[in-house]
Structures are given as structure tokens and as C-alpha cells.
């Protein structure tokens, strides 16, 4: 089987989840869709189990932080259909007040640590996760260090400020 064309894939998703899945781009040929946290589990399960799609391989789960948006934290899934050699990227945006999203670890065992890493760095809470603890950082850390407001180094340091470089 060859690669599923992006249009066909998008059509299938929009047919199944009438209007709830929005197309947000296909940079470099990788179809990107956005959906809501209420629907993400169903979309993932559909993509995994549909006989024609078979996105059985979970490549990655991660997150991103846009401080200027209303929904600041985006959770990003990369799936791969090995039989058709097609990839898809899914995004769900969450507000800082409500960082809950259903876990994907019931669909893929491999999601367990990916979600723990996402929780560790962004504070996204995966509901139903069997063991949601920090994974790379120390257990008693109180911040989520990959968020943009968390500084990389001493914020009082001024020798690297942009105005020294004419920016």
C-alpha cells in the first residue's frame, strides 16, 4: 500500500468527526490537524484501529508553550502508519487553568513515559495515566521547566542582553 494522500486522510477525519477536527497545515507534507481534548482519545483510537488507516505506531508525544495565546499549552502527537508509510501530527491546545487531557497509554504502552516526560516539563496532566510522576527532573521540583517563563540561566545576568548586539 502506498502513502495515503493528505486530502483523503483529512476527508476521512472530517467525515468521522464532523467539524471537530480542523486542518492547520501540512508543512513539508506532514498533515497537521487540531482537535479538542474531549475528542482526542476518540481520534487517536480511530486512527489506530481503522482498517484502512492503521496508525499503529506512536512516534512521539510532546508539548509546546505559547505564552501569548489564550490556550497556552499545546500537546502534540506524532503517529505513523507503518503499512501505508504515512505520518500525521495531531495537536490539542489547553488553557493553563485546565491542563487535563485523557491519557493515550491505554492505546499504546509506549505513551506512558512520553506522557510522563510531557508532564515533567510542561505540567500537562494526563487523566487515567497509571503512574504520572516526574521522570527526568528531581521529584521535589515545583516548576515545569520547559515553559517559556522559566529562565535558562540567571535572569540578573546582563552581558548577553540583545541591546549589546544592536538587536
Amino acid at each position: 500500500m502506498g502513502k495515503i494522500p493528505n486530502e483523503e486522510l483529512l476527508q476521512k477525519l472530517t467525515d468521522k468527526f464532523a467539524g471537530q477536527v480542523t486542518h492547520t497545515g501540512a508543512d513539508y507534507g506532514l498533515l497537521t490537524v487540531e482537535t479538542s481534548k474531549e475528542l482526542i482519545y476518540d481520534v487517536l483510537a480511530y486512527l489506530k484501529t481503522d482498517a484502512a488507516l492503521q496508525f499503529i505506531y506512536l512516534t512521539d508525544i510532546t508539548a509546546i508553550h505559547y505564552p501569548e495565546q489564550e490556550k497556552q499549552i499545546g500537546v502534540i502527537y506524532h503517529l505513523h502508519s507503518l503499512t501505508t508509510n504515512t505520518r500525521i501530527r495531531l495537536k490539542v491546545f489547553l488553557t493553563l487553568e485546565d491542563l487535563h487531557i485523557p491519557t493515550a497509554s491505554t492505546l499504546w504502552d509506549g505513551a506512558n513515559w512520553m506522557e510522563r516526560e510531557t508532564y515533567d516539563f510542561y505540567g500537562v496532566i494526563f487523566d487515567g495515566h497509571p503512574d504520572l510522576r516526574r521522570i527526568l527532573n528531581v521529584d521535589d521540583m515545583t516548576v515545569f521547566p520547559m515553559r517559556k517563563e522559566f529562565p535558562l540561566e540567571d535572569p540578573n545576568r546582563i552581558d548577553k542582553k540583545d541591546y549589546f548586539f544592536g538587536r
Partner: protein, 403 residues
């Protein structure tokens, strides 16, 4: 479940004993900690603790210009850092829509396949050591040294190579480099044959590894395994074949697969991959002969660091040098995922760029991190000595695990 190391006075007759395997145990080849509950020598349950050498690469990358991120990738899987370097260069080139000349692609293929061989030499050699056979490891190590000398000839360093640049290579391969590659291609195959003869039908080795830690296809896919350990279960997923990058489509090679995913199959798959890598390097050398010999980078002055002698003598080169070093080059708003077949699995780079001087977000899909996840669950019911061999055969590299 017990997360922290604990000392218990358990009576071994009636209770399970707790063993802290690691973080600095000589048999684990890296900073790995597993707190195991043991019933005699059998593992009842285990909890992995990771993150001992977490260095926040993803955070650092958000504050670095693109070319300064290459040294960070060195420190992921440091047994085969050129693959990581090339993967990163290709990610940025994909974002910028830069097409590489064929000769550069082939040069990259040579370096990446050499790195794959070096990585597999260490992994399979160490697997031998863990089963009590030191000889194979020492025999093969000499040839990893030859590979490191090739790196040295090309980029000047050995372990953390920082090899190549965005847009090509920093300098052409010289005749000594080519001579060393050719020498390696002559000297290594007999040693690999001898290594296989030493292990493949060795009764002690086969008894120790066959049917140990066997994993089904379904479990491996559910745990998102990739690389040789996934192929050992019988799934023929290899990024080089599925989504060819760096002109891998021009090469004729096979993707070896195993049958039942045990330690022995993983060993065989890695050995066969070394043969395939040798085949690819031979083809690449032949193809390079047909390309113009002075091309070693693409013509992208805005992104490719100019050579130093030009920086000092040529105005344009000086300007580009300044712009690149200060991160003033124009980059698109883009989102790109690029995967390469690392020595232990699919190494992915998820890059979100907002046109600034550094990535807005860079995430490494690290095969070691994802492959290691099954270690504790799969160790249940296993003998402690088998768990050690299982760890060696997973080829988990601490630097990549913890990023």
C-alpha cells in the same frame, strides 16, 4: 512502588529482597538505576529511575542559534554521534528547503554507516563481555578505533564529533580519509566474520541468549520500539528504507529482520546490519568517484559557514560569517519533523521555528528513552543475570536516554 533506593532488613526466607541495580553498577554500562524486588535470583518487579545525567538540551536549544545545536546532538547517543549531527543538519536543511548535491549526500552516508558500525561494534562486543567472552570485544575494538581515526581525519575529533555543517561539510575528505575508509573496508570484514564464527554457534553464548527476553511484534510496536531491537522481533521498519533521506534510495541494501525478538536475534540483526553498512559504504565510494571531487557543500552562503580564509579576505564571506554566528539569518516560520535511522532506532527531530535566531521548540525523539521503557516490565520473572544481558542488548545509551 518504591521510587527511591532503600535499605531493608528483609528476611530472605519469607520476604522479597530489594536490590538497587545501579546507578553506577559496572554491568549496566551507564547511569541506570533499577530498584528490583528479588525472589532469590528471580525478579519479581522493578522500577527504573532515569534522569541522572539530564542536561536540559531541549531548553538550551531554545536559546542557541541553529549551528550551535550540533554539539548538543553529539551528546545524545555518543557512540554514534555523526548520525545525530547529520540528522540535525538534515532537519534544518529540510526546514530551509536546501537540496544537497549528491556527493555531499554520499559523504554523509559513508560517515553515518561508519558510525552505525562503530555503535554496533560496541553493543555486540559488550554483549559478549556480559556473557563471559572478552575476546570478541577486544578484537572488534581495534576496528572501532580505525573508524574513530577516520572521524579524526575528517573533522578532527573522535567521540563528540560535531561533524559537518548545516549545508554540507566543513571541509572535503582528504586522500588520507579515503585511504583510511578503504583500508577499513579491507580489514574489517575478516574480523567481523571471525567475530560471528566466535559467537553465532557458540554453545555457551547461544544458551545464554536464545529465548531470553523474547518480545512479540505486537508488544514491541505498542511500546514504540524502533531500530535493531524492533527488527529483531520481525517488523521490517527501517527509516532508511521507508523514508529515504540523504539519497539512501540510491543504494542497494537489505533490512535484516529477526524472528522472535530475543537477545540472540538482536545480536544477529546487528551483525547483519554491519554487513549491510559495509555494502552501502562500498557503493557510496563507487558513486563518489563519479561526482565532481571538489563539491563538499551546497551553495547556500546565507546558512553555510564560510571557510576561515575567505572570512579574512572576502567582504561577502565576512558578512555571512557575522550574520550566521550572530543568528541574524532569515528563517521561515515552520514546523518540521525529520527522522533518521540512528544506530539504536528512529531518531527524530521535531523543530518548531518562528523565524527567530534559535528554535522556538526543539524536541528530540530519542530511541533510547522510548526503547528503555519496556525494560522494567519485561524483566518481571526473569533471572537477574538475564536482565543484565537484556540491558546490554537493548543498546540504551545514557546520554540519549536522559537528554
Amino acid at each position: 512502588m518504591q521510587n527511591h533506593p532503600v535499605y531493608t532488613d528483609n528476611d530472605p526466607q519469607t520476604e522479597y529482597s530489594t536490590l538497587n541495580l545501579g546507578p553506577t553498577h559496572p554491568a549496566t554500562h551507564g547511569v541506570f538505576q533499577n530498584v528490583l524486588q528479588l525472589d532469590g535470583e528471580r525478579i519479581v518487579s522493578g522500577v527504573s529511575t532515569i534522569g541522572y545525567i539530564h542536561r536540559a538540551f531541549e531548553k538550551i536549544a531554545e536559546h542557541r542559534p541553529f549551528y550551535q545545536i550540533t554539539p548538543l546532538t553529539d551528546r545524545l547517543n555518543y557512540c554514534s554521534s555523526p548520525i545525530n549531527n547529520m540528522g540535525w543538519h538534515m532537519t534544518v536543511e529540510k526546514m530551509l528547503n536546501i537540496q544537497m548535491p549528491k556527493r555531499v549526500d554520499y559523504m554523509r552516508v559513508i560517515i553515518m554507516e561508519l558510525a552505525r558500525i562503530a555503535d554496533h561494534i560496541v553493543c555486540n562486543g559488550v554483549l559478549g563481555v556480559d556473557t563471559g567472552a572478552f575476546t570478541g570485544f577486544l578484537y572488534m575494538m581495534e576496528h572501532r578505533e580505525e573508524i574513530y581515526e577516520i572521524y579524526e581525519e575528517i573533522c578532527g575529533s573522535r567521540l563528540t564529533t560535531n561533524i559537518g555543517r548545516i549545508g554540507g561539510f566543513e571541509r572535503n575528505f582528504n586522500h588520507i580519509a579515503f585511504a583510511k575508509i578503504k583500508k577499513f573496508l579491507v580489514r574489517f570484514p575478516p574480523v567481523l566474520r571471525e567475530f560471528e564464527a566466535l559467537f553465532n554457534r557458540n554453545r555457551i553464548f547461544v544458551d545464554r541468549t536464545k529465548d531470553v527476553a523474547a518480545v512479540t511484534k505486537e508488544a514491541a510496536l505498542s511500546y514504540s520500539w524502533s531500530g535493531p531491537i524492533l527488527r529483531a522481533t520481525g517488523v521490517d521498519y527501517d527509516v532508511r528504507a521507508m523514508e529515504p533521506y540523504s539519497s539512501y534510495e540510491d543504494f542497494d541494501f537489505e533490512v535484516p529482520v529477526g524472528e522472535n525478538g530475543d537477545v540472540y536475534n538482536r545480536f544477529l540483526v546487528r551483525n547483519e546490519e554491519m554487513w549491510q553498512s559495509l555494502r552501502i559504504i562500498e557503493q557510496a565510494l563507487a558513486k563518489i568517484e563519479k561526482e565532481p571531487s571538489d563539491i563538499f557543500h551546497a551553495d547556500v552562503p546565507a546558512f553555510y559557514l564560510p571557510p576561515k580564509e575567505e572570512v579574512y579576505n572576502n567582504m561577502e564571506a565576512l558578512i555571512y560569517h557575522f550574520k550566521i554566528v550572530m543568528g541574524e539569518v532569515e528563517t521561515p516560520n515552520a514546523e518540521v519533523y525529520h527522522a533518521v535511522e540512528g544506530a539504536n532506532g528512529e531518531l527524530g527531530f521535531y523543530l518548531v521555528n518562528d523565524g527567530g535566531r534559535s528554535p522556538y521548540r526543539l524536541h528530540f525523539r530519542r530511541p533510547s528513552f522510548i526503547n528503555y521503557q519496556m525494560y522494567a516490565p519485561m524483566s518481571q520473572g526473569m533471572l537477574l543475570s538475564d536482565a543484565i544481558i537484556n540491558m546490554s542488548s537493548l543498546n540504551v545509551i545514557a546520554g540519549e536516554l536522559d537528554a
